[in-house]
Subunit: 158 residues, 2 copies
């Protein structure tokens, strides 16, 4: 593998690791677990969402989404309401308390990043945006082709 590829991968892992650590810290600060916090953020960002959409956006199964919403509802951070026209759907929406919790626990990673990013010269901002998008596209491309292959060639399934 080429040297620069290696360097990119290391940089990428450092980014991932920083994000991960941040998520844990943040979760601890709010008293929620990371997945719960993610769901709360997703719901707050969207205004209201169905469990199905929450599952899709959070990348978990529907059953898991339901149980996470359970926890949040029990803590009074979100509400459930049956759909009006389609009564199969359930609308999950943040409560005032839920919104305040998100405000009270501003994501430190995001804050640090934003501050520093906005202080960069214009050309560097542009470069970073372009590079991040490029990398994201590259990774997503791989995820799509790779998965079907891997399911077949399982190595040591029990």
């Amino acid at each position: 593998m080429e040297n620069r590829t290696q360097t990119s991968l290391i940089a990428l892992r450092r980014i991932l690791r920083a994000t991960e650590l941040n998520a844990r810290t943040l979760a601890r600060a709010t008293g929620l677990t990371t997945p719960q916090l993610i769901v709360l953020e997703i719901v707050a960002a969207a205004g209201r969402l169905t469990p199905k959409d929450i599952a899709a956006r959070a990348g978990v199964g529907q059953a898991t989404a339901t149980s996470l919403v359970d926890k949040l509802e029990a803590r009074g951070l979100v509400t459930r309401t049956r759909g009006e026209q389609d009564r199969r759907v359930v609308w999950v929406a943040p409560t005032q308390a839920g919104l305040e919790m998100l405000k009270a626990a501003p994501d430190p990673l995001q804050r640090t990043f934003s501050q520093q990013f906005e202080a960069l010269p214009d050309w560097e901002q542009a470069m970073i945006v372009a590079a991040l998008e490029r990398v994201g596209a590259m990774l997503n491309a791989g995820a799509i082709d790779a998965s079907p292959l891997l399911d077949v060639g399982a190595v040591d399934r029990k």
Copy 2:
């Protein structure tokens, strides 16, 4: 928040998400879970390690490390050996089977990324490396980061 900041954050999240999906796929392919795979990689990279060090590098508690090692040992992927001079410590080392599993399950994310990255024109490679390193530095600015996983081909969890 500025528009470009927002765009960067979205791109970042997309990268994160791709990585998460990749971890799950990989875990499925090997029959191991992501944390188990991480531990195996850490151990293989170090040659041999104590549970305490595994815990530190994987960023989990000692108890968790023990239970993960249990799983790997049960599958014959690592061995436990009591320390010679200090019999309190336990050395965890990969077996041949463990090493082979790592070889047989190359990280698809890494592979795809590498392939695509190496196909890029020189200037773009340079740009991406610079941008990723910049972002990593920015994110790590706040937290003191031990980043123990970096040298390993870790998959990263969510």
